[in-house]
């Protein structure tokens, strides 16, 4: 993916779909973290909360879950089942 930083907002080109996405820092950080390794929602929220110095409360987790659903619908990420 091609990423361009516009003073804290990001344009991301997704070659496979030929689509351009506009993300804030949180959105980009989610993609970067999931690109490094798959994460559970809980662990991802914990990592993000640490990175942005936020409190990982219920509403934060709901926001991140919403963002993940949106990213999945756009084909930016895919959900996987954890190995047994």
């Amino acid at each position: 993916m091609r990423v361009v930083d516009w003073d804290g907002e990001f344009t991301v080109f997704q070659p496979a779909a030929g689509k351009t996405h506009f993300l804030n820092e949180m959105g980009l950080r989610i993609l970067i973290m999931l690109d490094q390794s798959p994460q559970t929602l809980e662990h991802l929220c914990q990592l993000l909360a640490e990175h942005f110095s936020l409190l990982p409360d219920e509403s934060f987790m709901q926001q991140i879950q919403k963002t993940l659903y949106r990213f999945e619908a756009l084909g930016l990420i895919a959900s996987i089942h954890s190995p047994r």
Partner: protein, 302 residues
């Protein structure tokens, strides 16, 4: 040789011939065929400065042909064709010129992919291009008409043709369709402008075309680098505002305004990124020609 060097009789004869009238519009050659006598006078007057391209291969073959409609059997209608296909419905005979101009623009918009094609006006001053993207209420054609009669060179009132390799804009100085109140506004502000006939009852209301200045057409092969992107909006009685626009917002608006952004994929993404990085981006609100000319002169002098 220019269209203006043909007599009306010669022009009519070419329009109705197999070879058609071959005209150069910027980087494109268009072959126009029509048997319609009423199209001859406006074309003779408005196409006077365009070069004939008799020996060049035409990219677009367009025709204006009579059409019978079973629903309106007694109304003479015309159909625009490009390569024999009708891209939009027939219209009354008096709308032949608007149909021809819109049809050629539509053909360019949907077929050209060797340029990144922005929906915007583009003018040049001091060697660099000022882009004026279209968005609702922008009044880009009206503003563009005012600018090209005050020291700006017309590139186009409809298309920004960005060459991907060089990052340069290419001129396409075609007729500029003013609509409704803009016609009188330009007649009053620019009595020296040459306008075609008022054509009533089109899908966009009354339309009259401004003929581009001869100097702009003579330099239609001279590209230039872009330097300013100004998103205009006309609002009655508003004081002028020319403010910096965040580059991320400019990217979003410009990319979504290109006709073939998705077709060109990553090349388009890179080209818009580079364009925004090289240009000063502004939001403009204006209501009168005097103050907007002064503000844009100041910007493009800087």
């Amino acid at each position: 040789m220019k269209v203006g060097q043909l007599s009306r009789k010669e022009l009519r004869s070419r329009l109705s011939s197999e070879n058609g009238l071959r005209v150069k519009f910027g980087p494109f050659i268009v072959r126009i065929q029509s048997f319609l006598p009423s199209l001859v006078d406006p074309l003779h007057r408005l196409y006077v400065f365009y070069a004939l391209a008799d020996d060049d291969i035409a990219e677009f073959h367009v025709q204006i042909v009579p059409k019978r409609s079973p629903r309106r059997p007694f109304t003479p209608l015309l159909q625009f064709l490009v390569d024999g296909q009708a891209p939009f419905p027939a219209a009354p005979v008096h709308q032949a010129l608007t149909m021809l101009e819109w049809g050629i623009n539509l053909a360019i918009a949907v077929r050209v992919n060797h340029f990144l094609l922005f929906h915007c006006a583009a003018v040049e001053r001091n060697g660099h291009v000022l882009l004026l993207p279209a968005w609702p209420g922008s009044g880009k054609t009206t503003l563009c008409a005012a600018l090209i009669h005050h020291g700006y060179r017309l590139f186009s009132d409809e298309f920004g043709l960005l060459e991907l390799q060089s990052g340069h804009l290419f001129p396409l100085p075609r007729l500029m369709p003013l609509k409704n109140q803009a016609i009188d506004a330009i007649r009053n502000f620019l009595p020296e402008a040459t306008l075609g006939p008022e054509i009533h009852g089109t899908l966009k209301g009354t339309v009259a075309h401004v003929r581009p200045p001869e100097a702009s057409i003579n330099r239609e092969d001279e590209s230039a680098a872009p330097r300013w992107i100004v998103f205009p909006k006309w609002i009655a009685n508003q004081p002028l505002q020319l403010e910096e626009m965040p580059r991320s917002e400019a990217f979003l608006l410009l990319a979504s305004n290109a006709f073939n952004y998705e077709v060109l994929g990553q090349s388009a993404f890179d080209a818009v990124t580079s364009l925004i990085q090289r240009c000063e981006c502004r939001k403009l609100v204006y209501s009168d020609f005097g103050s907007v000319l002064a503000a844009l002169n100041e910007l493009t002098d800087g």
